[in-house]
Symmetry: C2
Subunit: 233 residues, 2 copies
DNA sequence: GACATTAATATGTAGCTACATATTAATGTA
DNA sequence: TACATTAATATGTAGCTACATATTAATGTC
C-alpha cells in the first residue's frame, strides 16, 4: 500500500524546504549539488532541478551556476498581490458597481508622471479622472494618464461608458508594472469626490505600466476610507 | 550569422505573449495545443510547456488538463512585494538602524489575533511591542504576537537586543503568509510612539504566518507618516 | 607576482519517450 | 430520458541524454 507520490518534485521540494526550516541547512549554508540530492532521493536530476527552481522563485534559496545553491541569507517576505479590475473587485463583494467619468483631457505629461515613467521629455497623454462606486458609494478615485503614442486607440473609446481601467487591462496587457503603496491624509478635493472627511487616512495605490519600453499608463488610485488590500494565498 | 536563441523557451514565451498582446488571441480565446505550437515553432512540446507554465504563472493564460489553454478573460495585475527584514530596509536607505523593545508579555491570544490565525480557541502567546528606528527617528512600530506552542524557543531570545522580526525571519521560515494593507488615522498611542500627530494618515501592514497549519506570528506594523511600499520589478 | 588563458564544475536548457491525471465527449444500459 | 461507464484528449510529470552557460579554480606566461 505504498501510495506513490503524485508530484514527486513537490515532495522533494517540500523535503528540502523542511530541511531548511528545521535548520539542517541554515541561512547562508551551501546546499548539496542537485545530483547529490537526486542520488539521495533516488530520482532524476531534472526532478531536483524542478524543485529547486520553485524554492529559488519563492526566495528561500539562491542558485548560481557553478556556485551552487545557497539558503538565502536574508530571507524576504515575498507576497503576491492580485489587483483585479476594479469592477470585478466591487462585484465580488456583492456590491453593485458603477463608474463615473469626471474629467478627461489631452495634456503634456507632468513632471511627476514623467518621473514615474522615467521619461526625459514630455509626451502627449490622455488624462482621465474617474470614480468607481460600490452600491452608489465612492469606492476608488483614479487619476490616470495614458500615453497617446503607445495607446492611440484610447481616443476611440467612449470613456463615459467604459472605464479606462477595464479597457486597458483587457486590451493592453503590459510587460512591466511598478507599484507604490502609501497612506495620505485626504485633501479637500478627495473629500468632495470620495465623500470623506478632510484629513481622513486614505490608502493610495500608484501604478505605472509599460509594454516593452513604451509607457502605457500611470495612475494614482485613492481608495475610500476603510479600504484594505489583501494577498490571496 | 544566425544568432541562435539562448533561451528558447523564453523566446517562445515572448512570441506567444506577443500574439496575445497584439490580439491574435484575445481574452477568453482558446490557444492552440502545446503540440501545435511546438510544430509551429519547430521545437519540442516540453519547451512550449515551459513557456506556457510561465505565462500561466504570470496570470496571462489559464491552463486546464484536457481543457487546453485559454487567454485569461479577466486579467489581474499580479505584483510581487518583497518585504525585507526591517533592519535591512532601513540600512538600505543609508540610515542607521536602531531597535527598541517597548513591552513584552505572555498573553492568551486576543479574539482579533485568533481571527487572523483562524483559531477557535485561545492559545498562549508572547506579545511583543517594539519600535524600529531609522537615524533615531521612529520608522515602524510593530505589535506582534508569537505562538508559544509553535515557537517555544522565542523565550530564550533576548528581545531587548535582537528584534523578533529578525529572529523569526532567520529562524522560522513560514509556509504560508497572509498580508493585509490599509491606511488608518493615527491614534494618541501612535502619536506618542511614532512622534506623529494624532490623525496623521498611517500605513499599516498586518502579517500573519504559519508553518504548515501551526501559527507562528501575527503582527501589525504601523509605519511612520510618509512611508511607502514598493514593488521591485 | 600580476595577469591572461584554460580547465573544471554546477546549474540551465533542449529534446526525447513514456506514462499520469483530469476532464470532456461518447457510449451503453436501465 | 437519466445516469453510469468508457474512451478520447490536452496538459502535467518523471526520467534520460546531450549540450550550453556562467563562474570559480588551476595553470601558464611575461
Amino acid at each position: 500500500m505504498t501510495d506513490k507520490p503524485r508530484h514527486s518534485w513537490v515532495t522533494i521540494r517540500d523535503s528540502i524546504r523542511e530541511m531548511i526550516l528545521n535548520s539542517t541547512y541554515g541561512p547562508g549554508d551551501k546546499l548539496p549539488r542537485d545530483e547529490e540530492f537526486a542520488a539521495r532521493f533516488g530520482c532524476a536530476r531534472s526532478t531536483v532541478h524542478r524543485a529547486m527552481r520553485d524554492l529559488a522563485q519563492s526566495g528561500l534559496v539562491e542558485r548560481r551556476r557553478k556556485g551552487g545553491t545557497m539558503v538565502q541569507r536574508d530571507p524576504v517576505t515575498r507576497a503576491t498581490l492580485n489587483i483585479p479590475i476594479t469592477r470585478l473587485e466591487v462585484e465580488q463583494k456583492g456590491c453593485v458597481y458603477r463608474y463615473q467619468l469626471i474629467r478627461q483631457s489631452v495634456q503634456r505629461s507632468s513632471p511627476a508622471i514623467m518621473a514615474n515613467f522615467g521619461l526625459h521629455e514630455a509626451r502627449p497623454m490622455l488624462r482621465v479622472e474617474a470614480l468607481h462606486l460600490a452600491d452608489s458609494r465612492p469606492y476608488i478615485f483614479e487619476d490616470r494618464w495614458i500615453c497617446l503614442e503607445t495607446v492611440p486607440e484610447i481616443n476611440t473609446v467612449d470613456l463615459t461608458r467604459e472605464s479606462a481601467n477595464e479597457w486597458l487591462v483587457r486590451n493592453r496587457p503590459y510587460s512591466r508594472c511598478d507599484l507604490r503603496l502609501f497612506a495620505r491624509p485626504g485633501t479637500k478635493n478627495d473629500s468632495e469626490i470620495l465623500q470623506s472627511e478632510i484629513g481622513d487616512a486614505l490608502f493610495v495605490m500608484e501604478r505605472t505600466t509599460w509594454i516593452g519600453d513604451a509607457p502605457i499608463t500611470s495612475l494614482r488610485a485613492v481608495a475610500h476610507p476603510g479600504y484594505q488590500l489583501f494577498t490571496q494565498g
